[in-house]
Symmetry: D2
Subunit: 265 residues, 4 copies
Amino acid sequence: MRILFLGDIVGEPGRKSVLKFLKSIQQEHSIDFTIVNGENSAGGRGITPKIANDLFKEGVDVITTGDHVWDQKELAEHLDTETRILRPLNYPAGAPGHGCIVISTPKGQIAVLNAQGRTFMGQALENPFLLVEEQVQQLHQQGVKMIFLDFHAETTSETIAMSYHLDGKVSAVIGTHTHVQTADERILLNGTAALTDAGMCGPETSVLGRSVESIVYRFKSSLPTRFPVAKGPVRLCGAIVDICEESGKATKIERYNRLLEAREM
Amino acid sequence: MRILFLGDIVGEPGRKSVLKFLKSIQQEHSIDFTIVNGENSAGGRGITPKIANDLFKEGVDVITTGDHVWDQKELAEHLDTETRILRPLNYPAGAPGHGCIVISTPKGQIAVLNAQGRTFMGQALENPFLLVEEQVQQLHQQGVKMIFLDFHAETTSETIAMSYHLDGKVSAVIGTHTHVQTADERILLNGTAALTDAGMCGPETSVLGRSVESIVYRFKSSLPTRFPVAKGPVRLCGAIVDICEESGKATKIERYNRLLEAREM
Amino acid sequence: MRILFLGDIVGEPGRKSVLKFLKSIQQEHSIDFTIVNGENSAGGRGITPKIANDLFKEGVDVITTGDHVWDQKELAEHLDTETRILRPLNYPAGAPGHGCIVISTPKGQIAVLNAQGRTFMGQALENPFLLVEEQVQQLHQQGVKMIFLDFHAETTSETIAMSYHLDGKVSAVIGTHTHVQTADERILLNGTAALTDAGMCGPETSVLGRSVESIVYRFKSSLPTRFPVAKGPVRLCGAIVDICEESGKATKIERYNRLLEAREM
Amino acid sequence: MRILFLGDIVGEPGRKSVLKFLKSIQQEHSIDFTIVNGENSAGGRGITPKIANDLFKEGVDVITTGDHVWDQKELAEHLDTETRILRPLNYPAGAPGHGCIVISTPKGQIAVLNAQGRTFMGQALENPFLLVEEQVQQLHQQGVKMIFLDFHAETTSETIAMSYHLDGKVSAVIGTHTHVQTADERILLNGTAALTDAGMCGPETSVLGRSVESIVYRFKSSLPTRFPVAKGPVRLCGAIVDICEESGKATKIERYNRLLEAREM
Ligand SMILES: [Fe+2]
Ligand SMILES: [Fe+2]
Ligand SMILES: [Fe+2]
Ligand SMILES: [Fe+2]
Ligand SMILES: [Fe+2]
Ligand SMILES: [Fe+2]
Ligand SMILES: [Fe+2]
Ligand SMILES: [Fe+2]
């Protein structure tokens, strides 16, 4: 089973690029299953049902999110029926939506999980180490072997600790949220693929997808300003993970990192 | 001018590996000037004068630091005489040491700067965007063209914003502090080489250089515990930057990333 | 010289109550000079020129603010002409407005300062301890003896440290921002009146002026929600400080704390 | 039932003063039950079994703590046998000690709870709003009517929200941690006594009990330094709450706030 994961899709540039190139990427890399983080796909803030549907139509199987999940108001109620869009699973009981989905594929069942770190994150959520572990145990009892976690976190320490915490229990732990791809893809000792951050799908000349001028102005002046999504060529970032269907262990992980040229867009 | 920069050296494993392999790395890559971040070289916490001297003897030219600079008490007064060890330049006036040094080399003068980000960092320091800019203007007035900044920061947004802020004004902006190398090395439009984080020189199987068990225990339990430096094979991370001596602009940047095998150590 | 200071005015309930009762409070307590913190007077978020003018007309002499100063967009440019509205003085150079004003009164010149703490505050500002001290030295050189500081900060430690830092150099250091009045009014050894937080002027049954239900929901669920200004009887909180016009030292400080009954509103 | 609660006891000055005056305070005010927060009683950092025993001998019934609970290593194992010392109840399962105790008194059973806020607190703990509510429900099912919560939190909003959340369900919600007494003691609509912070028992001329010079130096310089417990006259801060034994509702709350004169110490 070969999984394509694409990191936080930012705004229209990121969204259009993913929609335009997804099919060809899937073909070129013989992808079996596609997961994208869509938390910034609606103008940089959240995701709408329409955008999610567009992504599903082009071949996305599951959409993960993060701290921006509630930015578009219409999403909350959509989450209860559209279970292929995940929100972090470590919200208190009663939150709209779910943080885990199990999908049957020709190559077997795969579970996708989404959880959020706590260090330096806006919302105070429940302990992701304990809740993800509990969820994974349930999946094992159900016989699900292939498990993919998008761990949305700020600090490298929390994501790396999560990777080791789950090593041998899940197929892959891929971080998102910093919007910058890390160069530490590896398979841990017990068979879990790990990458501290997948990076984003958004404008190359930008600060996390936002206009350079606005962010630099903010840091220089400490004054408020608007942060429009940047323009220009897009870079698509993510990872491709091979999982053994029998054992659920990862056999290979490669970073996906492609700068689209202007003429491609 | 070819510069080797190595990220945060963590504890004895990181330190010994750097001391053992530095000469051969310098030769293999025809390095002209070597900078290392030493803020975690003394048992993970700070740096001692002795460790600094060992590094200088093996061929390090300048040592940068960060939020851990004061962890070893003897360092503060050493900083006033040993100007090749930098502390972040954005401390209020009166702090021991300096955040900038200019060194004459056979290939011309090069300035090394060290500054610290503010978002999610322990100490409240002064605005690094304004203070680094001021320092760079002074260097330009002195005729210094080659300028290298180690920007020690937690968030990707602050480091990337700093890179653009200085694009065309300095030769390179390389981030440190997260201990994980990012995969976004590039030369910006106006000639500044940028890498959001250089990564660390420390034990591969670890959380930022610390023992996996201790950090995972902390995240699971929220209880205090000691975080010993991890053991086992070391990975050396950093970057190699080529700078045009005439213009001060970067012509090339490559990540340095090498896992030492057990038999090498 | 007797000064009345009223803490953060919250929304329409706080605003209307202050406008309605200010004159009678001034008379009853023989007030010479009135300062109010207006950072939440426009629906809880910022202040508009119109609201400021209403307050000035009723007898307010100076309006201080804090982290919410920029919430109403029209204020920024108004600040450059209406110097009686202050923003925190520890913004980088170039920010709109000023953080200090000197006003001539029948009983002598008085300076009002506004600064913002850094611990746990949203914006990263410059060191208030150094910048306020510098400003105070300038005022002393100009012969201004009576100096009042509204220090807008989150932690008790930062505000209390500021009080001691300025003890003997200013007439009063009164904290704002937590919206809860502290019970530690006192005159320090060298003559500076101090109160860690003045409290707010806003609805009694509320969480910092906001509706109880909305804030409790937020803490229980970690989900986003709107936080409307609460309704019901208002409490006015602040302090009354007596200053010796000759020396600038405080001779007396009393907390002002009055719950308006429903029939009064 | 009349309860005396004293806020965070800081170091030797705070400890000695409480030990010396407790009996007389209890007598003077006809106290039935005494609770103190001891999290800073051992040199400002944590509490030792010996200090706890000294307090129990002088008439303390229950000791609460907070974020400093683990500062003295010997305490963790002591907590499992000495159930009268509480740690915040919102640690993950498996933490040493307990966050709730029920004690039988001549005037009926009383439960004391200790929980910790999450906003701006060092440790990431579980949701105190949900866990305290659950604990309170269990106590109600056991027939316990008198319930006292020490809520150890940084922000006024979290403590006040907790008070309203529990209004009518517990007898009193008293905050600790900021070390400064607030002036907002009141009984909420449904019968719960509330005070946002009880204040500390420690040296008057200090920053939260620590030496003024050291803390001011820290804020001015951003450099590390030691923060010794201050010397000089001590102020005792807390609250006295009357509870109806039949209903568990509070009938009265008064702040306790007494500056001991030098000759008393
Ligand atoms: Fe994102
Ligand atoms: Fe995010
Ligand atoms: Fe480091
Ligand atoms: Fe660091
Ligand atoms: Fe406010
Ligand atoms: Fe504020
Ligand atoms: Fe405390
Ligand atoms: Fe505390």
